[in-house]
């Protein structure tokens, strides 16, 4: 019942399906040899084919086909030996041909599934209906001139994979986890760069609400969302909107919606009557795509280790929890980083959980604060390993470790360099600590009396003072032990 949301009158369940559009990682476009590089000056990557000049013809880019097959395998999906490119006909200024070459009846990839993992250790399969290849459109630039729209065709013809899920998703969080998982798989496979900000990965969300156990309601489609945050926001807003309508006795119109990222609201773009008739038909310029079984096998053999395999391996090898392992394997760079860190010293094998914590809480929060990504982290995996080694071997305390990590982050020095330079090495010498404690006790005789009089809580005060004296370097356990024994002796 956790998945239900409360309206004024009833509890409602969301039914969500996603169409993910992932740009294929490829140097050239789906049907032309133009470059796909992002951010080039407008209309500098446009071939005669991309501009739909008279008499120009599409020629399939074999590499993009291989990337789609690879992705299909990564999504545990059926690869179709026979698929067909169709024309989806509609007019728009940034669609030079007047049609998009897509796949309609016969997609290159059929049914598959992906698994999402929850914090509580459970997981859920989201079924994939299909994956098909299609061309991206260009871009209409409406903000360059008060009265004109400019068209940039650099993106025109870039290969996209549209990955369509079954309506198996029930919450905005699941939607977010699903798209993260898709992104993760694509990035492991190196078939999409996963960059949502640049639009390499975006999603259309289909959403309806129903009372639990009832038939699916009428759905609305929210177009073109390019961040997980917006996906969740849009779903939440749209579900509430639909529930309000239904609870006040209205019906849902099957609309295509746009999400305004500034207001967090959805608004209708067109309704069912205004929906395009795309007049799909097989593109007569292209032959059906036939992929021999042997080619599929060859591609299969080149598939790298995928996040789920790696997750299971981590659980098996390091006894990590399902959730920790899934966080660690969500991005290839994270699991690579973890692997590099744990392998940097043989002793670290015994502390996988500590390494995970240092990566996913301490390092990630520093990276977040500085708007950085793990791949440009100033702290290398090897250096992080060294830091954890210093902590686990009691050379420094965990608290000092945090300061050292921050210092590593700004100075890019190694943990040991910083510890040595700043003399942060933990004081474990009994005699030295004893001296400090004696000093603290003698300077705070009044407090000592109070402590001995029964104010046990004051022990913390003495620990603090002693730590201050040692600049935090005293081994806390040793310090505690000595302090307790000294205070008793006084008695």
């Amino acid at each position: 019942m956790d998945n239900l949301i409360k309206g004024d009158k009833h509890y409602w369940e969301m039914v969500i399906g996603l169409e993910v559009h992932a740009q294929v990682k490829s140097n050239s476009k789906l049907f032309s040899s133009s470059s796909t590089k992002f951010g080039s000056s407008p209309n500098s990557q446009v071939s005669l084919v991309d501009a739909a000049m008279p008499g120009m013809l599409p020629v399939i880019n074999k590499y993009c086909v291989e990337q789609a097959v690879k992705t299909g395998i990564g999504l545990n999906a059926k690869i179709n030996n026979y698929s067909v490119f169709d024309r989806k006909n509609y007019f728009y200024a940034d669609l030079p041909q007047g049609y998009q070459i897509s796949q309609y009846k016969y997609p290159i990839v059929g049914e598959g599934k992906v698994t999402i993992d929850f914090k509580d250790g459970t997981s859920k399969d989201i079924r994939i209906v299909r994956l098909h290849l299609e061309q991206d459109a260009g871009k209409s630039l409406h903000d360059q001139n008060p009265s004109k729209t400019y068209v940039d065709l650099n993106r025109s013809g870039v290969a996209l994979m549209e990955i369509v899920s079954e309506p198996d998703i029930r919450t905005p969080e699941e939607a977010g986890m699903y798209i993260s998982k898709i992104r993760s798989i694509l990035m492991y496979l190196d078939t999409c760069d996963g960059n949502m900000q640049e639009g390499s990965l975006r999603a259309d969300v289909n959403i309806s609400v129903r009372k639990p156990g009832e038939e699916y309601g009428t759905r609305c489609e929210i177009k073109n969302l390019n961040s997980i945050k917006f996906i969740k926001q849009a779903i939440n807003y749209e579900a509430k909107r639909q529930i309000e309508i239904l609870e006040s006795g209205g019906t849902i119109e099957q609309n295509t919606m746009l999400f305004n990222t500034a207001t967090g609201k959805t608004r209708p773009m067109r309704n069912k009557e205004e929906a395009h008739d795309y007049r799909y038909f097989p593109d007569p310029d292209l032959l059906p795509l036939k992929i021999p079984e042997d080619d599929i096998k060859l591609i299969q053999s080149s598939i790298p280790e995928l996040p789920d395999d790696l997750k299971n391996k981590f659980i098996e090898t390091f006894k990590l929890s399902n959730y920790d392992a899934s966080v660690l394997t969500a991005e290839k760079q994270t699991s690579d980083y973890f692997n590099d860190a744990i392998n940097s010293d043989p002793d670290l094998k015994n502390f996988p959980k500590i390494i995970v914590n240092w990566i996913t809480s301490e390092l990630f929060s520093l990276l977040n604060k500085n708007n950085l990504d793990l791949k440009n982290s100033p702290v290398s995996a090897k250096n992080l390993g060294q830091l954890v080694k210093l902590i686990t071997s009691n050379e420094i305390s965990g608290k000092i470790g945090k300061d050292v990590l921050e210092e590593m982050f700004t100075s890019r020095k190694s943990a040991r360099e910083i510890v040595n330079e700043k003399g942060l090495k933990q004081v474990t010498d009994q005699g030295e600590i004893e001296k400090v404690i004696e000093k603290v006790i003698s300077e705070n005789s009044k407090m000592v009396q109070e402590y001995l009089g029964g104010k046990d809580k004051l022990l913390g005060f003495f620990v603090g003072q002693a730590m201050k004296e040692t600049k935090g370097k005293a081994n806390p356990k040793i310090l505690n032990d000595i302090l307790k024994s000294k205070l008793i002796k006084k008695n």
Partner: protein
Amino acid sequence: MISKSIKKTLQSLEQKDISIRELNQEYIKKIKEKSNLNIFIHFEEQKILDQVTELEKDNSNKRLKGIPLAIKDLFCTKNMPTTAASKILENFNPTYESFVTQKLLDDGAIFVGKTNLDEFAMGSATDTSYFGNTINPLSADDTPLAPGGSSGGSAAAVAANLCLGATGTDTGGSIRQPASFCGVVGIKPTYGLCSRWGIAAFASSLDQAGVFTHNVEDASILLESSAGFDKRDSTSANVKIPNYFENLNDDISGKTIGIPKEYSIDGTPEEVSQIWEDAIKVLEKKGVKIKNISLPHTKYALPTYYIIAPAEASSNLARYDGVKYGYRSKEINSLDEMYENTRGQGFGKEVKRRILIGTYVLSAGYYDAYYLKAQKVRKLIANDFNEAFKECDLIVTPTAPSAAFPLHQEQDDPIKMYLNDVFTVPASLAGLPGISIPYGKDKNNLPLGIQILGKHFDEQQVLNGALSLERSNG
């Protein structure tokens, strides 16, 4: 006197009886004299002379060196504008050269100009061109005749001897029918033999380039120069192009020729039936075996064609939207208005008719009944030919149901106009090679044509059959 033969002209050039410059100057003169026929959309004397000058500097041996050819204005050419006979491309100058015309240029041909056609090749009389009608050179002074279409300008250019050969495209008969109307040879090869790259598309699954010439020998020479595999066209066939000219042989004795009974259509003029019978008799005398065959789905060919071709055209012509190149209406207040006015003003009536038909047959709810069914029938028609060709080597039929008709006669009745393609469309749907050669005359002394169809990629036999018939034609 200049020979009307590419073969002989090449010999004259080689023997220096005439220079490339003299030859082309002669053709420039002829073209100017016949400007009243409105054969060319683009003709510029200086451009021809520039090409001559370039060739004069070139010492290499080229198989068509100096030969003046006319190019249907559907082929994109770098050196001359390309209009597809449409207002929407009135001022379009391609930056690229079509595969076929590039091959001809590589062989040293000289392009004398771009010829008129039906707008985007949609028509059978070259009367839907934005640039006006072309007049059949065989017309008597008082009754101007249609040259046929859509490649009417190219057929007329050869008929009026304004060039030694011309390129055309054939979607449902657009080479063979005008060849028949103008009394010249026109060959449409197998679908996929000549790359479509750089030819403005009408119906992609049917469009095929071919050539017009004065005789069969020349057709074999030009076809060899035009054909070839092109990886930029996914439907281009990767086959070795035979040496058609070297292999020409008019002795076809022992071969079997199929005569399809479904091509005897009620209402076909007596003289058309007569020349068909004559041709059969002549072939029989030459030791050919005549076999009556059946192509049972022939009667569905026209309706099938007039679903598939407009469906593809409606999509192919969507790119002419005023955004990137070509005509754009001045009256624009919104994007939709730009499309409406640009396309409303830029396209002619027949093109709009076919876009509407094509849009209709692809619409949700009608797709299965029209387009999908037409695709199934198309397979049946292709299969008819496959079956027939198990029993014969070539099929002989009339090319068109009549000789050239007077201009404007059929203009207001599209169905009647579409009937012109009745003998040519089935082979187009099946992707088969076909040739039309002049054979006999009607009662007004206008030429009629015989069509010879062959198996896929069996252009050699088609040419051999045509040569045999041509040589018996006195």
